[in-house]
Assembly symmetry: C3
Homo-oligomer: 204 residues x 3
């Protein structure tokens, strides 16, 4: 079940990566690279950190092929994808929720403490997007846009770690943690919630 | 034999990295950093992914010293190097061919499936150049320049994986795969072959 | 004892990262990300390279919490921190010295040759700052500013490796190597020492 959630998260992140490539007028190779790195980057970082090498992305066929399918879909039908599926950020929020939950769980299974597993869950969720922005020579949205992005992932990861400590495992806690993070992220976008600037620093 | 090919690929990538440093007017330290990362970055990524730690770059003396030698050569004789050795891109293409072949082989030896080994071969070949561009705060040429760079590496890696599946090993298939990738890359540069943009996206 | 030095280095690097976040007008999340990556990035790279996974940063509670404490301090009292503690670069130099010494020692303990351990010590020392600059979409200061930054780390790492080869271990050689690197870095800043440009390349 976690495997299916994982592939769903990979698909939505890959779509967001491939569409980012279209908006930057990259060719199909650049689109595929951004799709793969956005979808797989966070999980590869997680697996390298916990020493689970080769990372799942390099042993599971679906992990490599799903981003290629997303690239093909974005290549031919990107206007329809943008229109039908709504703003790309909703997809990104869904991937964020799924990835922080699954990432925290894998880190806990690998024996990390709940605090460190929560941190690695956040890295799993935001890592792919950060790598996508670095490859595009942009400051990661995580750092500068003052939208809540890491904090929803932190909420989802924390919920997952608490469930694990309370000995609650499986599909229900994973989905709950993912939905918590997703909802927080969507509400933050809807109402323009902002993280505070350091004391005395004014808005740009 | 593979060891010698590996060192040859490291030398040409290091020369290209050190010359990139000269063109950006970096000092000798910056030149050495770009030479080392361009030459060793892809292989380090590969070894970390397959769990072969410490990476060869941190156990083999030649891997560290060859880029330093390339830095010294570029430091004193960079105008002659640019002139005598011809356009830097020919060297880059040779390194590309050698690295995708050797990288695919090491990934297959580590037990990865042919598809994943092909992917890791491409990462081995393009990883150093991508890291060089990231360090230079530039969008990796891989993504934006619409020249064929990843696709020749994909051809060479695929050829290597097919040879491996057909139980053909050693110097001949490695060199064949490298020459295939090199030739495709050179032809793509010569004739200005381009990868397609997404449907409906116009040229910049 | 090395543990305490390590935490001290982490604190000064985290302060420098969080203050960099304030200067870039990042919110508290961005400040925390830059504090963590500046403080832990070099050590994580080192541990991944020597295969010591999960890296210390993901098993030791202090490594995660100290950068958060530094973020809180910088959030509320950044003008006082900048004023009282003097130019941020002195802190950075102290962290540089501590990290190159500790990083070289851990690499030697992991069985790397003195030359490779010296290289990994330099990476430990400069890695966090390079990752901080990459996340900020800036060319790493290491490459372009022509100030001596990597060379002091190289001096400290070399001293540490020589002490190790001469069978001198523990607090005294570690502190000596750190002070050597720190002093070289401070003198280089004070007197504007520069690394040379390639022959025939003029100043910018």
């Amino acid at each position: 079940m976690t495997g299916l959630l994982d592939l769903a998260g990979i698909f939505v992140f890959a779509i967001s990566g491939a569409l980012a490539g279209v908006r930057r007028r990259l060719d199909v190779v650049g689109m595929a690279v951004l799709a793969e790195i956005t979808a797989l980057g966070g999980g590869i970082l997680r697996d390298v950190v916990i020493g689970a090498t080769p990372p799942v992305a390099f042993t599971n066929m679906g992990y490599v092929l799903v981003p290629l399918a997303a690239t093909v879909i974005a290549f031919f039908w990107h206007p329809r994808v943008e229109r039908v599926l709504g703003p790309i950020m909703v997809f990104d929020a869904a991937g964020l929720g799924l990835f922080c939950a699954v990432g925290t769980q894998k880190a806990l299974d690998a024996g990390l403490s709940p605090v460190h597993a929560t941190l690695l869950g956040v890295i799993t969720a935001v890592g792919g997007g950060v790598l996508r922005d670095i490859l595009s020579a942009e400051i990661p949205a995580l750092l500068y846009d003052r939208q809540l992005y890491a904090l929803p992932a932190l909420l989802g990861s924390t919920a997952m770690a608490i469930a694990y400590v309370l000995d609650s495992h499986g599909f229900i806690p994973t989905l709950t943690a993912a939905v918590l993070a997703f909802t927080f992220r969507i509400l933050a976008m809807r109402y323009g919630w902002r993280a505070p600037l350091a004391r005395g620093v004014s808005e740009r």
